[in-house]
Symmetry: C2
């Protein structure tokens, strides 16, 4: 068996969405994931799940941005300066995004999903079914996090 010396990822598909800018954060929006033909067979059975995690390569993060260690969440100076592992910032050593989406429809190699906050052309790395073990019923979060959550819940 040969184990890779470098940890290299290969895109398994690509995101298609009409959303631009902040519109990608709109959790009610639909996007498509076009899975590359060579991986189409690996989708067998996925339509039986209502929710899947999507892992994707965060769009247009530079090598310089990957060196970021601390950020104000969402760039907001009214929130504390934090280590990036305490945030969901896009600027991370390994710019891999993780989003739970609702799986609306699977047609051939095309997945229609709701709530994927990824830009058009984003390279998709993995699709994993949502497991009840992936959730915490009583999670404790910092105050700044709760503040952002409440703002997200506001109607636009």
């Amino acid at each position: 068996m040969s184990f890779p010396a470098e940890l290299v990822l290969k895109p398994i598909g690509i995101v298609q969405t009409a959303a631009v800018g902040d519109e990608v954060r709109d959790k009610s929006r639909l996007s498509q994931i076009i899975v590359h033909d060579e991986f189409a067979e690996a989708l067998d059975g996925v339509s039986e799940f209502s929710h899947v995690f999507v892992l994707f390569w965060l769009h247009e993060i530079s090598d310089e941005q990957r060196k970021t260690l601390k950020v104000h969440p969402r760039g907001r100076r009214d929130l504390p300066l934090l280590g990036i592992f305490a945030t969901r910032s896009m600027f991370r050593p390994n710019p891999v995004g993780l989003t739970l989406v609702e799986l609306v429809k699977v047609e051939g190699n095309v997945l229609t999903v709701r709530g994927l906050d990824a830009f058009d052309g984003t390279r998709v790395l993995d699709i994993k079914p949502f497991d009840s073990w992936d959730t915490a019923k009583t999670a404790k979060v910092p105050e700044w996090w709760t503040k952002l959550e409440k703002e997200k819940a506001q109607p636009r």
Copy 2:
């Protein structure tokens, strides 16, 4: 700005655990994540969360195993043959594991976590705080999945 042509990951830390074999699946077990010194600062604020997602490079998956498209979940022939995107199999095009863990303690660059199903020496790629948006209250899963869930819930 320079964007990488290849999607290359760099480990940000390593797993330490006394668990071997199937013991790593024991959700009550503690493991340590030793974050490399250069990323220690990126942990600031993480101790305020009770739960984090850990992304890690699945241990000793060969290039050949990455070409797997279909598996019986857990290698069990009594369960259907499924596309790997409908399973949490380790054999996937991009062998990145995802586990939600309880964050028990943070001391310097060492995180003590509960429920990380990763082997000793596993390379850690990312730590992301758990977001209430990462959960689905009413997720639909296939029958074979529920069957496995029930088995997991049995006391050992």
